[in-house]
């Protein structure tokens, strides 16, 4: 799809989301829900001693998985799967740069994911929830986070160039 057209559709979707629900899009919040759900099941005593878990439980009296973003991310899985199906892109594969091997890509994906997950908690949102949605509602915090994400990525890109080019 033409990237500008995709951008317009995404922008209209975000506007509609704000008009209907009063909030923007997101992604990493669902991972927080999943994390709290696992910890409170596996180690309930441990969870009740940490305000990260107890605050989240207090915000979700009907269960920590009953969260707007959990439903939205399930939708993302369905929508992306349908799109991949229709465009013939469904296949199990490990994508990596031309000068790197599978094992390095595996380590990179895990480490990068962990950093992103950690950073998204600290920064109160990821590229969707803080940067894109924050820019849309002209939030100072969201725009600072956006500049920090892209600025940080450009600053570190040189050191990891062998992973990609």
């Amino acid at each position: 799809m033409n990237p500008y057209l995709a951008g317009v559709l995404l922008g209209l979707l975000l506007t509609l989301t704000v008009f209907i629900t009063g909030r923007g899009l997101g992604a990493s919040g669902a991972m927080k829900s999943a994390n709290v759900a696992v910890v409170e099941t596996v180690a309930p005593a441990h969870a009740s001693a940490n305000s990260f878990y107890t605050d989240y439980q207090a915000e979700h009296p009907e269960g920590v998985l009953k969260n707007w973003l959990v439903f939205e991310v399930i939708g993302v899985l369905i929508g992306a799967f349908l799109s991949g199906l229709l465009s013939n892109r469904l296949s199990l594969k490990l994508e990596h740069g031309p000068r790197t091997v599978g094992n390095i890509r595996i380590a990179g994906a895990l480490l990068g994911g962990a950093l992103f997950g950690f950073g998204a908690q600290l920064g109160r949102g990821c590229t969707s929830g803080a940067a894109l949605s924050g820019m849309a509602v002209l939030s100072t915090g969201g725009i600072i986070t956006m500049m920090a994400i892209f600025g940080g990525a450009y600053a570190f890109a040189y050191f990891f160039r062998k992973l990609w080019v």
Partner: protein
């Protein structure tokens, strides 16, 4: 008036809405090519700027859309989630996310999207982010101070830098356009293709034209608030300006107060001092801005309840009532002569007046009694409280 949640769309239906919004979100991300890590990080190495194009176009379109909805009075911005600004955690968290981006090749949304079509690296990235969240959760007791430092509330960026909202949106749009142009030159260089940055294709031109049209119309058409205020600016006296405002006599008002009539509701626009000097029973304190907000407006639209507007003087009564009528609120009344007439003719009724007609005999008898009885009603009233808000700002973010 938006947002439609929670009063038009209930909390449970909202989860169904979330699912459908998610489906559209996932579909757009996947169609844009965001399910490939090599494409995503291309922007950091200059060989593929798709992410920048999609991201900035979406950001500018949504920014435009939300500013327009606010401009034309279609959403109550006080109920919209504005990401809170915590300077330290936003900067540090953002830089860590940037590092994660170049090492992992995804961000959370795109990793979910790529995992859905079978990318193993994306599934690992999702697993990694769960571990990252767990790490943060376990470290949270030590991080709480940093997490809460530099609280700037729900700051909006144009206010933070002292600029008008419209100018900021315009500058952002111009910046995005420049970025599109510059990155297409860089991209062509890195790929070793010939540079044709000014190649004009249909889609961007149509999009730019629509955007330009919306922008121009927003500058030409005043915001809903301005136009409504302006339409009542010519009301310089009670009953002036050709707007018929339904009125209520001071006697009727006094009678309803004494009767403790549940079918009237006093909407008090006076300042705190005046409300303390002469409190009215069960009054709700309003500001003119409240008339444009979602929940206060609902309070004025209750069926079979008359809203008696009380302001500093009769002319202002009429002006605000005219605004309310323009906004489609019907059950509005003003007191004949305003609160001053109510004070002088009822509360401070002069018993020594001699009635000139039979009608005045009755009126004066009522007023004489009312001036005494109302003293206790007013003494037992307290200054009006601001309009109660039960709808909270939406909870958002990640």
């Amino acid at each position: 008036m938006g947002p439609l949640v929670p009063d038009i769309i209930g909390p449970n239906l909202n989860y169904v809405v979330a699912l459908f919004i998610g489906i559209a979100f996932g579909w757009i991300l996947e169609q844009a090519g965001f399910s490939s890590s090599r494409k995503l990080v291309g922007l950091f190495y200059g060989y593929d700027f798709t992410v920048l194009r999609v991201f900035f176009t979406a950001g500018v379109v949504a920014m435009f859309g939300i500013v327009a909805l606010e401009h034309f009075g279609m959403i109550d911005i006080n109920l919209i989630f504005i990401n809170p600004s915590f300077l330290h955690s936003a900067l540090l968290g953002g830089v860590i996310m940037g590092l994660g981006f170049v090492i992992g090749g995804f961000c959370p949304g795109t990793s979910v999207c790529a995992a859905a079509i079978g990318r193993i690296d994306a599934m690992l990235f999702v697993g990694g982010s769960l571990l990252g969240v767990l790490l943060f959760a376990e470290m949270y007791p030590f991080m709480e101070t940093l997490y809460m430092a530099g609280d700037g509330g729900n700051a909006r960026v144009y206010e933070s830098i002292g600029m008008s909202k419209e100018l900021f949106v315009l500058l952002m749009t111009a910046f995005a356009m420049l970025a599109f142009l510059a990155t297409s030159i860089i991209e062509a260089r890195v790929r070793g293709e010939s540079i044709t940055p000014l190649r004009v294709s249909r889609v961007p031109v149509v999009i730019a034209l629509i955007g330009g049209f919306i922008a121009v119309s927003a500058y030409i058409l005043p915001s809903q608030k301005d136009s409504v205020f302006r339409s009542t600016a010519h009301i310089l006296s009670a009953g002036g300006g050709g707007v018929a405002i339904p009125t209520m006599t001071v006697d009727e008002f006094a009678f309803r107060l004494l009767d403790n009539d549940a079918r009237i509701q006093i909407i008090d626009f006076r300042d705190q001092e005046e409300m303390k000097r002469l409190p009215l029973p069960k009054a709700v304190s309003f500001t003119p801005d409240n008339l444009f907000e979602k929940e206060p407006k609902q309070l004025l639209s209750r069926r079979r309840i008359l809203n008696v507007f009380v302001t500093v003087d009769e002319t202002t009564d009429h002006r605000l009532a005219a605004i309310a009528l323009r906004l489609g609120l019907e059950n509005v009344r003003v007191i004949n002569g305003g609160i001053q007439a109510f004070e002088s003719e009822i509360l401070e009724f002069d018993d020594s007046l001699v009635p000139q007609s039979r009608r005045e005999v009755d009126t004066f008898r009522f007023r004489s009694r009312a001036s005494k009885d109302l003293q206790s009603v007013i003494a037992s009233s307290t200054a009006a409280a601001p309009v109660r808000r039960t709808i909270q700002r939406a909870v958002g973010g990640c």
